[in-house]
């Protein structure tokens, strides 16, 4: 059932953009964790996690994002999440995570000029 989840990276000198699509759940969260850790460990100043094509995320997915945020903090970098889907935003709100993450509406805004 891996077809429900896809992940890819686009790396430049300034930023690593990790694009996630599909369902982030207890099955796909380990893959997301390892790919995010690898992206962060590249050492780019900015890590962008594009969640625009994510259709479902649960507490295990949120836990991975929390762990990634801590890893970025420890490395001195910055991480932005790209989210516009109201249901995904609602999940960040009800779990009290809106203040933990920098959430922006587009990859362009996350990466900057």
């Amino acid at each position: 059932m891996d077809e429900l989840f896809e992940i890819s990276e686009d790396v430049s000198d300034r930023a690593c953009v990790v694009t996630v699509a599909g369902e982030v759940d207890v099955a796909s969260a380990p893959t997301l964790r390892s790919r995010l850790e690898a992206a962060i460990d590249r050492g780019t100043p900015l890590v962008v996690v594009d969640l625009l094509s994510v259709t479902f995320i649960d507490s295990t997915g949120l836990g991975v994002l929390i762990g990634a945020s801590k890893r970025v903090d420890n490395s001195g970098g910055t991480m932005h999440l790209v989210v516009t889907e109201p249901r995904i935003l609602k999940l960040f709100e009800i779990t009290g995570l809106m203040d933990l993450f920098s959430i922006v509406p587009s990859v362009e805004q996350a990466v900057g000029p």
Binding site: L4, D25, V26, A27, F56, D58, S59, I94, T95
Partner: protein, 147 residues
């Protein structure tokens, strides 16, 4: 919010009377099969005239019932029971460990991200157990039935 001794929640069959009916799903404790619980939740909610947002709420809430029981080396089966009432759906998830496995489960309904999600999305939820089995349950009413 969290209650563990509601008789109707302990035994969904007790409220499967004239208008209620029961859907049961038994799956191995495997992370890649939790999607089947979500699909069943969405289908049952849809057939119970829940609106789109309520269907998505129930889909996520049922996922949260399951996640505590998979991914930590658990071996056995998850028995999900969906009881449709006139105005609500009750869902329970019971872990049936293989012989030699620990039947204990993390109480996701009382702490952490899962608890916050369940608090926000369903009307009641809780955890109970016995005989080496643990059962997590929730109840969600249709919004239209609350007015």
């Amino acid at each position: 919010m969290t209650t563990s001794d509601r008789p109707d929640a302990r035994d969904g069959a007790s409220r499967s009377g004239a208008s209620g009916d029961v859907v049961e799903l038994s799956i191995p404790v495997r992370a890649d099969l939790v999607v089947l619980a979500r699909l069943t939740a969405a289908t049952v909610a849809s057939r119970s005239s829940f609106d789109v947002e309520e269907i998505e709420d129930l889909r996520l809430a049922v996922d949260e019932l399951c996640v505590s029981l998979v991914g930590e080396g658990s071996e056995g089966r998850l028995a999900l029971r969906f009881v449709r009432g006139d105005e609500d759906i009750e869902v329970s998830c019971t872990y049936h460990p293989d012989s030699g496995q620990d039947g204990a489960a993390t109480d996701v309904t009382s702490d952490g991200l899962s608890a916050r999600i369940l608090d926000a999305l369903v009307d009641e939820h809780g955890m109970d157990g016995g005989d080496g089995r643990q059962r997590i349950w929730l109840r969600k009413r249709r919004a239209r039935s609350q007015t």
